[in-house]
């Protein structure tokens, strides 16, 4: 398999989240993190989750990945219930979660090594490609603690993209990046995703980013975490984040966001 073929990869998966609820119980309090959340994500669809801090977005990703089990409801991937995490549903965490015992290349190679059907040479080639994509080829042998915050996030991004999973769950992957690097990555990544489509669930606080990337933006509210509203974005791709249409859509969503949660920030 050449790098070219590898870029096409396996087909994306269909995800169904059915009536999922989740409570976190500690001795002090019980947090109702998710309340009856249902989602239907088609094959190759790109879904963005947007919502106030602490509304359960990360928790939902954990549940979809299989890392956490919901207290109620189920998650189905390709009509199979999700019971365990696996390499077909890869998570890019909110914290960079890089392995300090590996260098940058080692971190990016980690998931690749678990992917069958590749020679080690191909793996190295793919790793190099993605390290270059995130602009870190000069730091390919650096230790994790020597990287700046944004660099760590880019390594985590490369690590998540490299194994080309069928489902990608990304938790604020661009939060620590400057606008420029971000825009560069939007276009690079859109290009790649057009070639090898996958199902993506993406958490962000940047509504423009959501509109630029997603087929569907889902708005969460908090206490308990619930789906408030859903926006289908039917703009042609590739999209330019600075375009007027995009700004219109994002304005609409921002208004919805503010309308819903107006009282929440001050009262919580």
């Amino acid at each position: 398999m050449s790098l070219q073929e590898e870029l096409i990869g396996p087909p994306p998966a269909k995800l169904i989240v059915e009536n999922v609820s989740k409570w976190f119980r500690t001795t002090r309090q019980t947090v109702h993190a998710l309340d009856n959340v249902s989602l239907n994500i088609g094959e190759g669809e790109f879904v963005c989750l947007v919502g106030p801090s602490g509304c359960g977005k990360s928790t939902l990703l954990d549940i979809i990945s299989g890392l956490e089990t919901p207290d109620e409801g189920v998650v189905m991937a390709d009509n199979e219930p999700v019971l365990n995490p696996g390499r077909h549903r890869l998570v890019m965490f909110q914290e960079s979660a890089l392995f300090p015992w590996l260098d940058v290349t080692g971190n990016v190679m980690f998931g690749l090594k678990l992917k069958p059907g590749l020679t080690n040479k191909e793996r190295l080639e793919i790793a190099k490609f993605f390290i270059q994509l995130v602009g870190l080829e000069k730091f390919s042998a650096a230790h994790v603690h020597e990287l700046s915050g944004g660099m760590k996030q880019r390594v985590a991004l490369a690590r998540a993209l490299a194994p080309n999973p069928r489902v990608l769950l990304m938790d604020e992957p661009f939060a620590a990046l400057d606008a420029l690097t971000r825009e560069q990555l939007y276009s690079d990544i859109q290009r790649i995703w057009q070639k090898r489509r996958k199902t993506i669930v993406f958490v962000t606080h940047n509504v423009r980013e959501a509109v630029c990337l997603a087929d569907c933006v889902i708005l969460f509210s908090r206490n308990p975490g619930r789906i408030r509203e859903q926006f289908d974005i039917r703009l042609p791709r590739p999209r330019d984040i600075n375009s007027v249409e995009l700004a219109e859509h994002s304005g609409e969503i921002t208004r919805a966001l503010k309308g819903h949660s107006a009282g929440e920030v001050s009262d919580s």
Binding site: N84, H88, F110, V144, H145, P163
Partner: protein, 255 residues
């Protein structure tokens, strides 16, 4: 440079204090020999080969016993941290047995192996393995869970997860556990050499024991110095580089 100098001065001062106490004759010279007589013993024993041979014998036993202890203890520790059933059985055994003094194992060792090298190794291994089990178990339990979570979503599970994630993630703990295991191995071996006399090798423990039996305190203190020296060398040669490596990788160890 300055560090070495200061440390050298410190140890010289210790030596001088020792000399002064001996000179003052507060305690019988049989119980507290002078630095000179200890030096003479060491020189003599080094020259006639006793010391070198005993050190060789002891270090060989130590290394073999320690490696066996780790080879058994490390996987067991991983198992106890992974499975509740193993935790409730082997883990509980390890907690209880690690406090047992080495002397408890000697009757069993003799019963099973007779007066052989194996008996001695058995005592060393029993003195080491439980503490390695516990150190490994504790190390694994203290890993930040994000590492295992990240690995699992990338498809790592089973053996791969344990060898490529859990083990390296707990390395800082494991090394500290291994250092203590090394001390346990030494102490157990000394007990074993004192209690299990065999003819296949005369080690430092025997030298120490017979030195005490024959009131040759210069020999006792000489052998103690050799043990201390070996302890230091092991640290400098074996553990310190590993720790330095880990600190570099993890970005820790700075103040």
């Amino acid at each position: 440079m300055k560090r070495t100098l200061l440390a050298t001065i410190f140890f010289l001062v210790l030596l001088v204090i020792w000399s002064v106490i001996v000179q003052a004759k507060i305690w019988s010279p049989i119980l507290l020999p002078s630095p000179q007589s200890v030096g003479e013993y060491l020189l003599g024993a080094a020259r006639d080969g006793t010391l070198l041979q005993a050190t060789g014998v002891t270090v060989r036993r130590l290394v073999v016993g320690y490696l066996i202890g780790i080879a058994i203890g490390l996987p067991l520790g991983l198992l106890t941290s992974a499975w509740k059933f193993v935790e409730d059985t082997i883990g509980v055994l390890a907690l209880g047995l690690q406090t047992l003094p080495s002397v408890c194992w000697i009757p069993l060792a003799l019963l099973w192996f007779g007066q052989t090298e194996s008996a001695m190794l058995f005592v060393v291994v029993m003195g080491t393995v439980w503490s390695v089990v516990i150190a490994t178990d504790t190390g694994v339990r203290n890993i930040p869970p994000i590492f295992a979570r990240a690995a699992r979503t990338m498809g790592s599970s089973g053996l791969h997860k344990w060898t490529k994630v859990i083990l390296p993630a707990s390395l800082p703990y494991l090394v500290s556990g291994m250092k203590q295991g090394w001390a346990f191995a030494w102490r157990s071996l000394m007990a074993a050499e004192i209690y299990v006399t065999i003819l296949t090798g005369f080690g430092l423990g025997h030298l120490l024991h017979y030195g005490r039996e024959l009131h040759a305190m210069d020999q006792v203190i000489g052998v103690m110095l050799v043990i201390v020296l070996i302890g230091l060398l092991t640290d400098k040669i074996l553990f310190a580089p590993i720790e330095r490596f880990l600190h570099q990788r993890w970005g820790t160890g700075l103040r």
